[in-house]
């Protein structure tokens, strides 16, 4: 059960209709794109329009464009059409940005080794092989509340690190394939 507070913690003041900073710095299309990229389950255009606080028709137009561009999948098999993002594509974008960034392949390789070494330290410290195994130890004898909380935090960080290792590892393995084109096609002849 959540406790809602009306003390100053939320700024959107719809009652007075004053535009917030967000309203000034984003368009309806911006917000539809934000929502579309971060859906945690398939949603209808109506739901996305409400979340983005934009009208239905332009929302649907933007969603269809995102489907055409491969950003979203559209599912027409149910009673209502729903949309869902292709998170694989976002991982590719992230790997490409790492390739295009300021870091060298050696730096990526070093960070990769550090992240793997961190996981291996946790495996040794707790005698487990995975974040879920670590979570299963929080109720063990001798694990007090503080230790249990630490294990839960480490398990989450471990999950996050595994995801990061996959992306950085992909960028390193495909370093040449992901290389940005620096010459015109004519120059490469």
């Amino acid at each position: 059960m959540e406790v809602a507070s009306h003390l100053p913690c939320m700024a959107t003041d719809d009652s007075q209709g004053e535009p917030t900073l967000r309203d000034r710095e984003t368009t309806g299309e911006d917000r539809v794109r934000m929502v579309a990229h971060q859906l945690s389950e398939p949603r209808t255009a109506n739901w996305i329009a409400a979340e983005a606080e934009w009208s239905h028709e332009p929302t649907t137009r933007v969603l269809e464009r995102l489907v055409d561009d491969g950003v979203l999948y559209r599912d027409d098999s149910g009673p209502h059409t729903t949309y869902y993002p292709d998170y694989r594509r976002q991982a590719m974008i992230e790997a490409t940005r790492l390739r295009d960034g300021d870091h060298t392949v050696e730096e990526l390789t070093d960070r990769l080794a550090e992240m793997k070494s961190q996981i291996s330290d946790w495996q040794d410290e707790f005698g487990v092989d995975s974040p879920n195994e670590l979570r299963s130890t929080v109720a063990d004898d001798g694990v007090d509340a503080a230790a249990a909380e630490r294990r839960r935090e480490i398990a989450r960080e471990w999950d996050r690190l595994r995801g990061r290792i996959r992306i950085v590892g992909f960028a390193v393995r495909e370093w040449d394939f992901l290389a940005p084109t620096t010459e015109s096609p004519e120059a490469r002849g």
């Binding site: 809602a4 939320m10 929502v35 599912d75 993002p85 998170y87 976002q90 992230e94 940005r97 995801g163």
Partner: protein
Amino acid sequence: MSVPHPGGDPNANLYAQLKHDVLDRVPQITAVEFVPDRIKARRLRATFDPARLDPATGPEPPTLVVAWYRQEPYDWFRVDYTDPNTGFHAGWHQDKDHPDLGRTHFQYTTDGETGRWGIDFDHETPSLILWELVDSLLAEIHPTHNPL
């Protein structure tokens, strides 16, 4: 039967999205960095221009640190604002630290005084939640705790 979800990790590009969708658009923010670096990307740190806040603070720049992990059934996040000039700290946490306050709570510390209570957001999209709390910080929380 519905079409299978394409899958993938919703955290893969999340910090780049929060940076692009929100923090890069806030005029009072002068820099947004990945911490400890772009490769490990554990957190985002936004730096404010103290002179652009209303009321102004300074001379040190306040910061907003965002740690966010997308997971089921609810995301885990901690967003923390610190003004080193006054020692003021405000945090929006969805971290199970205070289950008595519900899923998400707000807390602040200033001059030895601490406040903490449960909050709700109007949105469930991370970028729009971050906008809600940045709006709240700049329009209400900062002015309340930095009276002219």
